[in-house]
């Protein structure tokens, strides 16, 4: 206890160090704290509401039609435990009133659904209304009512049937997904679906069986049995929790990226904390040496250091927890669009514990080199002036740097829940830091050449910034990283805006028409020609199922809550069932990356397997390689092919693209539907096309791509606001680091400044000197940050979006100027204070 108190007592005399250190770590943690509270709120909601969200305990779904054998299995397995089941089908379709039409998400459910919860209908709080009570009854979301001009009692046409609106929904426990404004939902009874003739061969329908169980154990038993029996990647079997998790994947991905930005803030402030600790350590050496001289062991001295760091860590994490808890409620608006239900962040012991853990380990890790050095302090420094000065560099710096890199990379992997993202992030960060450091040294070298010609205060400012790099490194790195982030966000947004622009012929289509039956293809094309609509592309789509890869059968991979995002994504890809197509020539949005693509029709005489081209990312995730033999089943017929090329596809082109392309001539007779993309049209023509299509081909659906895109842009703006908010945190942290370091640096160097004064430098000389030093540091780091930010944006634009756009620095070029200006303004008060101190200060002995 005595020992513990002594440790803390030592901190008492170092209030300014304690304050600066804790402010830095606290700020670094706030971002992670916010995200943790949001994630916790998300998990809590799922725990409370996932059953009512799904309306059942288990969902078994597929995008193809059920095989009677499969239905028999499902019925038998659930009946064995006496668990009720019900069917549901979800599809996208056009709905039309007398004069208008629009795309909706149609859910056809059995009367017993939902097993849990209720859909609330406006003006019917006691839930007496039932869909089944009236034939051809439909409940619609308010958006459908307003856009189609409908009311209760109005008639709505779906395919070949007319429905009567019997309710407008007020609250749907199933929640609505982020795209619901593009296709708002409507409910009908499943017995009425048949009559609409919307479900034809090859139509895109998600068919589900929903199961209600009595206990969690029953849920597990049924899922295990069905997984074993329905061994097809195209069948998705999930419990209510998993279903809830999957419905908010956007939120999860967004928070993953947000957490990476937050870790950047933590690293930046960690660097500053490390720097502050170094100075504290150097001040402490003498005291420690005296303690050792008086009989304390070296390990006691080390222990004192550790206890102090632990104390600082806990203090900072509690502050961070308080701040993030109080902010998370307000800032939850930043992410609420990405969750289909409302999030209410609340105090959680788990979040606080996590913050304490992260904070304490961050503090230990950043202070590590000096903590280790503590146990090497020898009392001999009390006798020798030069030993007492000590080295500026810890001899444990390489060991510590290794541990620091591992720690933050590990944290990134855990927080982003992805090995890949975590590694790419860490790698980029390390590279960026190295480049910032190298280029700052380079710039310094160049600047030094000019030193001779400068006026004395500028020259000395320059010399200080060049020769005291040790001191300014953390400020340079932090400000550089902050600039990269600030530059990156608007630049990436600009790239996306250009990419997703519906304008030219080959640009993004304005409309997407799907579920076109084989026999409807010719008349539809004729109709479009008549309407002078520009068809960009029309592609066949064949639903298939991958049976074997190189002879070994492909089985479904169960989702596991502990999966990393990488595993999750590749499982989702594998399990989603395959849409195949064929074409004679590649679309401009496609590029062969390996192998060759012929496009010539297959002939049985060719004595080789038909050729298959696979999209590259898909191949990577599903582990399909060149020359693999793939065996597909299409409506009971097996078709084999060999992978002869890999393609990269620019998905942002929004053309009908497919993961798997067969050689033409193989699938021509397979049952298929067609997908067409229509180029830029006037708004009027678009409405006309849509209405004509609905009238003539009621089962065919048209997506207004422009609307999807604007919704997408809206979501992107929202996420970039969220990212921007956290990037702002980074920028604030960057300046915090700069201010802390300037303050500390001025304090440490007060003696130097006095020397300048003793030899005749007046106050304005010193002010000029310090201002030029700080502006050099700020300018070097922020301009390097600008270039790196643009370079990273350009690489992302090429790698991720396959874009040819050259990033334009126009919108961000002011950032380094602003940052330099800020740096100068923010440090000005410290500079004034330090330079106005009287000269009489321990220079004379």
């Amino acid at each position: 206890m005595n020992f513990f108190l002594r440790s803390l007592r030592e901190l008492r005399g170092q209030k300014s160090f304690v304050l600066l250190f804790c402010i830095n770590i606290t700020f670094g943690l706030v971002g992670l704290g916010l995200i943790s509270t949001w994630r916790q709120a998300f998990e809590d909601t799922i725990a409370q509401r996932s059953k009512t969200m799904l309306g059942a305990d288990i969902q078994i779904s597929t995008r193809r039609t059920w095989d009677p054998k499969e239905i028999a299995i499902i019925e038998k397995e659930t009946a064995a435990l006496g668990s009720p089941i019900a069917r549901s089908a979800t599809l996208y379709t056009m709905a039309s009133s007398a004069s208008k039409s629009r795309l909706i998400e149609l859910r056809a459910t059995e009367a017993s659904l939902p097993f849990y919860g209720q859909i609330t209908i406006k003006g019917d709080p006691s839930h007496v209304k039932r869909l089944k009570d009236q034939d051809h009854s439909i409940w619609i979301y308010p958006e459908i009512a307003t856009t189609l001009g409908l009311n209760v009692g109005s008639i709505l046409k779906l395919g070949e049937s007319n429905f009567t609106v019997t309710g407008i929904t007020e609250d749907d426990p199933a929640g609505s997904w982020a795209g619901s404004s593009v296709a708002p939902r409507a409910y009908i009874d499943i017995k009425d679906l048949q009559g609409t003739e919307l479900v034809r061969k090859g139509s895109t329908v998600w068919s589900s069986y929903l199961v209600k169980t009595a206990t969690e154990i029953e849920t597990k038993v049924i899922i295990n049995n069905l997984s074993a029996l329905l061994n097809d990647p195209g069948v998705n079997i999930v419990d209510h929790r998993e279903s809830g998790e999957q419905s908010a994947r956007l939120f999860k991905y967004l928070t993953d990226y947000l957490s990476l930005v937050s870790i950047t803030a933590l690293i930046m402030t960690g660097v500053a904390a490390s720097w502050l600790y170094r100075h504290y350590f150097r001040r402490r050496r003498k005291t420690t040496a005296i303690y050792i001289c008086l009989g304390a062991t070296r390990y006691e001295a080390f222990g004192v250091g550790v206890i102090q760091v632990l104390f600082l860590g806990i203090l900072s994490s509690l502050a961070a927890a308080t701040i993030s808890l109080s902010l998370s409620g307000v800032l939850v608006k930043l992410v609420h669009e990405f969750v289909p239900w409302a999030l209410t962040p609340a105090f959680s012991f788990g979040v606080v514990a996590k913050l304490v853990f992260i904070s304490v380990s961050t503090c230990l890790v950043v202070c590590l080199p000096w903590l280790l050095e503590t146990k090497d302090i020898s009392p001999s420094l009390l006798l020798n002036e030069s030993v007492a000065q000590g080295s500026q560099k810890s001899k444990y710096r390489f060991l510590s740097l290794g541990i620091q890199v591992l720690f933050f990379a590990g944290l990134a992997i855990l927080e982003a829940k992805s090995y890949l993202s975590g590694m790419v992030f860490s790698g980029t960060l390390i590279l960026a830091t190295l480049i910032i450091l190298l280029s700052s040294r380079l710039v310094h070298k160049v600047l030094k050449g000019f030193a001779a010609g400068l006026s004395a205060p500028l020259k000395h400012g320059l010399l200080r910034s060049v020769r005291c790099v040790e001191e300014s490194t953390p400020a340079i790195v932090s400000l550089g990283l902050a600039t990269i982030l600030t530059v990156l966000l608007p630049t990436l947004r600009d790239i996306l805006r250009t990419e997703l622009n519906v304008s030219s012929d080959r640009g993004v289509p304005s409309m997407f028409v799907f579920d076109i039956q084989d026999e409807q293809k010719a008349p539809l094309e004729a109709l479009l020609t008549e309407l002078k609509a520009h068809v960009q592309m029309i592609s066949p789509m064949i639903r298939g199922r991958l049976l074997t890869q190189n002879g070994s059968s492909v089985v479904r991979e169960e989702m596991n809550p502990k999966d990393s995002r990488d595993a999750e994504r590749s499982k989702l890809m594998r399990n989603r069932g395959y849409n195949l197509s064929y074409r004679t020539s590649l679309d401009p949005s496609e590029k062969i990356t390996s192998g060759t693509f012929k496009g010539t029709p297959f002939s049985p005489e060719q004595h080789e397997l038909p050729e298959i081209s696979v999209e590259k990312n898909f191949a990577d995730r599903t582990k399909i390689e060149m020359n693999d033999i793939l065996n597909f089943e299409i409506e009971g017929v097996e078709i084999q092919g060999k992978v002869t090329s890999l393609r990269s596809v620019k998905w942002a082109s929004f053309q009908p693209n497919f993961f798997i392309l067969f050689q033409p001539g193989v699938l021509d007779d397979a049952p298929k539907t067609w997908v067409a993309s229509i180029g830029a049209t006037s708004p009027d023509l678009k409405v006309e096309i849509q209405n004509k299509i609905v009238q003539n081909f009621p089962n065919v659906s048209a997506i207004d791509v422009e609307r999807v895109l604007s919704r997408l842009m809206e979501l992107m703006e929202k996420s970039s606001i969220a990212l921007g908010a956290l990037a702002l945190l980074c920028v604030i942290s960057g300046f915090l680091v700069l201010i802390s370091i300037t303050r500390q640096m001025l304090h440490e160097r007060e003696k130097d400044l006095l020397l300048y004064k003793v030899v005749g430098a007046d106050r304005s000389f010193l002010v000029k000197l310090l201002l030029s030093e700080i502006s050099i540091i700020a300018a070097v780091s922020s301009f390097t940050g600008l270039f790196l930010g643009l370079a990273i944006a350009q690489s992302l634009s090429v790698i991720v979006f396959q874009s040819k756009t050259i990033v334009s620095p126009g919108t961000v070029v002011w950032i380094p100027f602003l940052f330099t200006f800020f740096a100068v303004v923010l440090s000005y008060s410290s500079i004034r204070r330090i330079t106005s101190r009287p000269t009489s200060f321990g220079l004379l002995s």
């Binding site: 002036e385 004395a456 020259k459 000395h460 010399l463 200080r464 020769r467 005291c468 003696k751 130097d752 020397l755 300048y756 004064k757 003793v758 030899v759 005749g760 430098a761 007046d762 106050r763 304005s764 000389f765 009287p838 000269t839 009489s840 220079l843 004379l844 002995s845």
Partner: protein
Amino acid sequence: MSILSLKNIHKSYSQGSSTLSILKDLELEVNQGEIVAITGQSGAGKSSLLAIMSGIDRPDSGQIIVGTTHLSSLNENELTQFRGKNIGIVFQQFHLVPHLTALENVMLPLEIAGDKRAEEKARQSLLNVGLEARSNHFPSQLSGGECQRVAIARAFTTEPEFLLADEPSGSLDTATGSQVMDLLFNEVKRRGMTLVIVTHSEDLALKCSRQFKLSQGKLIESIRPPESIKGNL
């Protein structure tokens, strides 16, 4: 001709509630070309006195006249500039700027004063103290004696009329200390400058033209036989 004159100097420090009177009604008159030694017990206030003479610190009351200038009539900035031009100071702890080379340290006061021939003059000063070979070394690469020589070169480089030294050999071993002091004295004499030196060393004090002892806040001049007579005894 008097180059430094202190009249009725009072200085006290408040420590908490009590005040500590260090200098009480102190008087001193130093003439052009004199070398004055000040001795006294540790804590007697020698450094405080030096700080007041150099304008680094101000007295509570009293007058300091350097040449014809009343230091009390100058504001902080004027005082700083005046010191830069007219007063050289050598410290016990050398106090070189760590991130500047020997040459740059010596150039510093000239640059601050805006001297165009700063480098040339500084090189000459370094040459005078025999350190031209070390001009590009940083203080951390120099020995204590070398550092003190750089500090002396720096004090001389603006060619002030008046030099103050606070225990300049205090951080050096005896042999190095006396070498460096010889250097200091020779330069001062060669240039006909005035020097006020605070020292603990009796030997060093005896080499000066006048010796004072600071005690009870006042300077008491020791009347000693002149050097020439002493030699004949």
